[in-house]
Assembly symmetry: C2
Homo-oligomer: 107 residues x 2
DNA sequence: TTCATGCGCAACCTCCTGGTTGCACATTAT
DNA sequence: ATAATGTGCAACCAGGAGGTTGCGCATGAA
């Protein structure tokens, strides 16, 4: 099946922060950005943004490349599909459980 | 559109814990369970399970009803769809960004 | 060369999270 | 009536998360 628990938990944990979701949304809609660029739009310090990007990177949601003295970050879109699939897994289990219950009740 | 940031962050945060994902999986595949029932399968104390269920409930992922002296918990499946939709939102943004980039590069 | 910019590392602080234990209360079983 | 079971509430604790500041180092601009 799709994504095991040990992998899914830190993935969702990385998604479970407003600042990080904003970063993902920004990288998703606006394309790649440098750290300073991202922090200028965020009221937080550059270091805070760096830490958040580190968390997202650790979860495989984002990737960086060095370009001159800048560090450019962009989405790693495949990981979102993993989270996607995991949710589908639970939803499907739930639907099956409802079906079994219905079958049992209706005899 | 779908799910705003302020709502999605705590939702994913609730999903970002292995114990809670196990609880969801258990409730999804095995149907409703009482707290003691859930904690017997989990090596953690009953109170820990109670707290986790509280977090899941706060995120709208799960619901409880009192039945005699027991407290029965079950999935609230609609919320999973919310998380689902949010991920789709970011993925779609990303795909659109890629399309724009492709269009730009190919002139 | 000299200055400014972008970044990384490390220390530090505060608050929240995950976990425990102990006790009290309601409900069922004997 | 008494005992056992299932919960809830509160206090408490250790560790991690999110944030800041300060400093040093590379890289690009004047």
């Amino acid at each position: 099946m799709g994504v095991p628990l040990q992998e899914a938990a830190p993935l969702f944990a990385a998604l479970g922060d407003g600042t990080r979701l904003q970063l993902l949304a920004r990288l998703g809609s606006g394309g790649p950005h440098s750290i300073t660029d991202l922090s200028r739009a965020s009221a937080l310090s550059r270091q805070a943004i760096t830490k958040h990007l580190g968390v997202l990177s650790g979860a495989g949601l984002v990737r960086s490349r060095r370009q001159g003295r800048e560090c450019i970050w962009e989405l790693e879109p495949g990981r979102l599909d993993d989270a996607h699939r995991y949710l589908e897994g639970i939803s499907r289990q739930w639907d099956e459980a409802l079906d079994r219950l219905r079958a049992f009740v209706e005899g």
